[in-house]
Symmetry: D2
Subunit: 241 residues, 4 copies
């Protein structure tokens, strides 16, 4: 369970918390701080970045020094500069891990990497969600029981318009009658991606111990692996032609 030396950047749009009293009540320091705190406790090297910083806090230098990027956005996806999106996508291709949370399904970064609309069903009713582990030997399920519950969450329902995930880790049951593929992994280039559903801004989801455990596990799982270095471009024959 190594986390020392893994450099995590937690990115948050950080707008709801400024404009909406109810959200500020739940996340007084911003959603990014609620996500960052347990990662710091688990000995990751953690920094945060937010939309309204220069270059959204995601300069080339910051990204080059990031092993795992965590992404939370919702109301301002359109305000993220295409240049920064391109930079993030390139870093994923180069091996940076990416954890996309909740409403980040509609972020430019996630949609660009998926190649689909990433659309889904949704409802804000504060209903119960129960997340079932469907891949119990997956590292992201480490230390969990066979399911865990969130008493109040926004509902996301199928159909979720993503490519078939490489691995399906969680499926959610919702009180209102829907299901959702809530934990999915993908590879793009040399980078690993984990999409994790929970996290509505009006609920204290990122203080839940199971949610925190999943994000911690995922940060280890998507951290770069120094595999073989791919070679591209024009190539001489290896055999006599």
């Amino acid at each position: 369970m190594v986390s020392v030396g893994i450099r995590v950047t937690v990115w948050n749009e950080f707008r709801h918390e400024k404009s909406d009293e109810a959200v500020r009540a739940v996340y007084p320091d911003g959603i990014h701080e609620a996500i960052a705190a347990p990662l710091r406790d688990a000995s990751f090297e953690v920094r945060t970045a937010t939309l309204d910083e220069p270059e959204h806090g995601l300069s080339q230098d910051v990204l080059d020094a990031t092993d795992v990027l965590v992404w939370w956005g919702h109301m301002a996806h359109g305000d993220v500069e295409d240049e920064v999106v391109k930079r993030v996508v390139q870093r994923v291709w180069d091996g940076m891990g990416l954890i996309v949370l909740h409403s980040g399904h509609f972020s430019k970064v996630f949609k660009t990497l998926m190649g689909t609309s990433c659309d889904l069903k949704w409802r804000e009713a504060g209903e119960k969600e129960r997340l079932w582990v469907v891949n119990p030997s997956h590292p992201i399920a480490h230390g969990l029981d066979s399911y865990f519950e969130l008493p109040h969450e926004e509902m996301y329902g199928e159909h979720f318009d993503i490519p078939d995930p490489d691995e399906l880790v969680f499926v959610s049951w919702f009180q209102g009658g829907e299901v959702f593929r809530s934990g999915c992994t993908f590879h793009r280039g040399n980078g690993k991606i984990f999409y994790f559903r929970p996290g509505h801004e009006t609920h204290p989801t990122y203080f839940d111990k199971n949610v925190r455990k999943v994000i911690e596990n995922a940060a280890r799982y998507v951290a770069p692996i120094h595999g073989a270095k791919p070679v591209y471009g024009n190539a001489k024959p290896l055999e006599v032609l």
Copy 2:
């Protein structure tokens, strides 16, 4: 083996044939006609479209009347208008099948749908390629032997930077010592995609009977299936909350 009623549009960049005598000698009517002819013989409804037509021949009306789009491009990927790329991608999401051939791996359409760089190794040496069927019960392999050969082709070698394909149908052996995942399927939205490697403009690949058989099989395979209609957006609960 139904093809009647499947509307295929064969799209070709159609630039090499105009500027390069050697290519014109192989494909005097354009690569699109060499691809279209056997599909017409197999009773598909076939039209062609090329880059230098208005809207590249891919107006909304044409796309709306297309079940399967075949894409060949190479030297002018950058000349394809983003607006048309967006329109093609949306139609794939809506269910249109897409067959991407050879150097189309670097087209805007394919890269947008994959979410990766789509990079690879290559060499123009006119060497032998042998395509092995690794998924013999796949519909795209219908009527083939366990392998087939192309005496002279451009080499494409691994690593091919694509997401893990949903299905791997062909793997190529090259005389010069490389291998390549030459036939791959993907889903994006409601649309099926087939990438097929062979087809360099200086070789008569699209006159080869096995290559023609594969494209014919693939056109049937990626044709739209009228499955369930997905529903997106805000949703009322199905159970009492």
Copy 3:
């Protein structure tokens, strides 16, 4: 939507119906007849076979004349002769389609083909099941809405111990709080397999129009495809060594 010429054998254990009045009340002619009737109406060539016939009704001749085998068993999995299991498995490898229903998850045939325990959670409480389509463009979802409901069913819950399915078509929501991967496809050899969850013997599930539609769609989907013929064994080199 071709079904003419597809030869389906519906196999049923046919023990509950003889020993249990409540089951007989629901399926007076046996579960096999309730499954066979709509397939006959859809123009498949249908026969039935049951456990207590000689060779369980699955002689080599019958299997050789079967394109798609539908399997329902529950209380007598152990009474199925290993010789017959071996014969069925070999036919799947040779290209026969297989549809495994409900409690068939614990049949020798399915467990042999999966290579896993196929274990799961279960509860007989006659609760509501809602099946969500998670792969809307899949042929098995043809003609369905985005979900369908069964008012009373046995519950099967995750974790379902199967290999990662090649394609996931349905996920079930249960009133009691569980989820389940209810429609899964697999390839083994040249044969396609579809596992479909619903169908408890005390509920009239096989009279439900959506369940019937799914089985009909699946029978078309798993019917043999005459792809390339694989070649095995000692092989001469294709190139000079």
Copy 4:
């Protein structure tokens, strides 16, 4: 790169080495010792076991104390007791990692876990094999170049009759004209499986530094992960029915 504390058992049929002078010349201490030595050097806890020991050296106690089992067999697959096969399969389901080498593709253990014939093409001509990395960011490719070569190997060619692998890591090019999916991962129950092609008994393949590196990487990759504990059997509802 943790290996301390991972308990590896290297199992070898160990018959060729006794009966065949040419094999003994290459592997004087047995193939198992050639595989075990570099794993010991890499700080795994390694023991060996062979067919002619009581219970083939794979008593329940040995398996219970094994995190990763490496399997080499060829001429005597039929001599492996079904009871031991069952025990090994159960341990994989319980989480033990399994690395199956070369001719182990036809072992009872591998065939039982795959659910397919595991058949393939083969030729003993001592030809050149080149293994290409097709999944460069996979942990099993750690530290490799984009390909590596073995100057003399038995050829295995497609079609290889396995289920679609969860991950494809290597594809081989053979001098005689064939290709092969040479490095494949699978999950069965809680256990991870890696099939790795090279290793004919008449060639010093297990002394090759790249082959050793792959086996070392794979031993780490398939080592058990303590994920969520799945729960099976009869279950009370979690919601009021």
